[in-house]
């Protein structure tokens, strides 16, 4: 699949309460965009990552996504939707997130200084997660959730074969 993403498409910000205003400003300045990509780091991403992210964005967009996460340290419930794409409800510890256009107006209602993740959990109907994770920062932070997801993938595969 064609790689349609570049490093310049990524807004380098943390997905934390301190960034609410900056992300809202980015949305206001880019209302025509189909999505905004927020990442704490982008310099660790290689071309393969960009292709993977691009493919996941396309898949999530066709499924009416509000947001797409690139990684998470914790989740409560998760379901595999298709290869490389999961749906989650409650999550914590993501530093890579794609906000889709349909969720822009909702995001603009976020209150500053409140947890960005908690506001997303409360407001978004369709939260997706790409897999494998986008590797930014210390991979060790994701080891528990990665291990669980791998186990769940194997269980699904076992019963669907």
């Amino acid at each position: 699949m064609e790689n349609f993403l570049t490093r310049s498409d990524i807004l380098c910000l943390s997905y934390g309460a301190e960034s609410v205003r900056e992300i809202q400003d980015a949305i206001k300045h880019n209302p025509e965009k189909n999505h905004l990509i927020i990442s704490a780091y982008s310099n660790t991403l290689d071309e393969t990552s960009f292709i993977h992210i691009g493919n996941c964005i396309k898949k999530a967009a066709t499924r009416n996504a509000d947001v797409l996460l690139g990684n998470i340290e914790y989740f409560k419930r998760i379901i595999e939707v298709e290869d490389n794409l999961f749906c989650v409800d409650q999550f914590r510890g993501s530093n890579f997130i794609v906000i889709f256009k349909k969720f822009f107006s909702q995001f603009l209602t976020y209150r500053q200084h409140l947890s960005l993740e908690e506001q997303t959990i409360a407001n978004a109907d369709n939260i997706f997660l790409m897999y494998p994770f986008v590797c930014t920062g210390d991979l060790q932070n994701y080891s528990q959730s990665l291990e669980t997801i791998e186990d769940l993938k194997q269980i699904r595969q076992f019963y669907h074969e």
Partner: protein, 218 residues
């Protein structure tokens, strides 16, 4: 869909002989349901209810082995069917679960699961479960149950949960537990909450998987 007229499920109901109210209740649940071959099993009495229940389960497994049953249904006398129960769905899911390697198929749970994988829209793999009021057990799992070293503080649900990865539950639940105002077996984690509340909470927890499965994987 086939009516599975020729399939009758060996069904073993655990009842303490002193609990006439429960016996009456459970008999009413199964009357007119010809798909079940119901046998009332006198519960093994023990000062600790959890041990009495486990001994009763072992008693049933030994009877099932002697009868050469391929699959059995173990029922506690506080089980009640929900509106989601349908004979054809029960039997087709029993057959499919067996083909997929399940050891246990549950009619409903009082909670306990942290991870869930939907197998179909109405049947989920679960990592753990609480409550044993409606448990379908396949023959290949009989001996493993008999071989368990059951501790005096163990619970049948936790022990069965830990004994196999291959366990599934119906969604929506086809079985829940009725609250008789007393319990012969310690409630979930010795919690005093109404047992019916546990089932409602557990079903609500599983609703996320059902909703997203329908929405995204079909």
């Amino acid at each position: 869909m086939s009516d599975f007229e020729d399939i009758i499920i060996p069904t073993y109901i655990i009842n303490l002989k002193t609990r006439k109210d429960r016996l009456k209740s459970i008999q009413k649940e199964f009357e007119e349901r010809k798909e079940f071959d119901v046998r009332i099993i006198e519960a093994c009495e023990h000062e600790k209810g959890n041990i009495g229940l486990w001994k009763s389960i072992l008693k049933i497994i030994r009877i099932a082995q002697a009868n050469d049953d391929d699959v059995i249904l173990i029922v506690e006398d506080d089980h009640i069917f929900t509106e989601s129960y349908h004979k054809n769905s029960l039997i087709s899911n029993m057959i499919d679960s067996h083909a997929q390697g399940a050891d246990i198929l549950l009619g409903g749970i009082g909670g306990g699961s942290k991870y869930v994988v939907p197998i179909t829209k109405n049947r989920f793999w679960i990592d753990h479960f609480w409550c044993t009021q409606f448990v379908i057990v396949y023959k290949k799992f009989f001996q493993e149950i008999l071989d368990v070293d059951f501790g005096e503080d163990d619970g049948a649900d936790n022990v069965l949960s830990g004994l196999t990865l291959n366990k599934m539950v119906f969604y929506p639940f086809i079985s829940v537990q009725k609250n008789f105002g007393y319990s012969d077996v310690p409630n979930i984690n010795n919690n005093e909450d109404d047992i019916e509340t546990f089932f409602k909470k557990a079903e609500k927890e599983l609703s996320f998987y059902h909703k997203k499965y329908i929405e995204f994987t079909k």
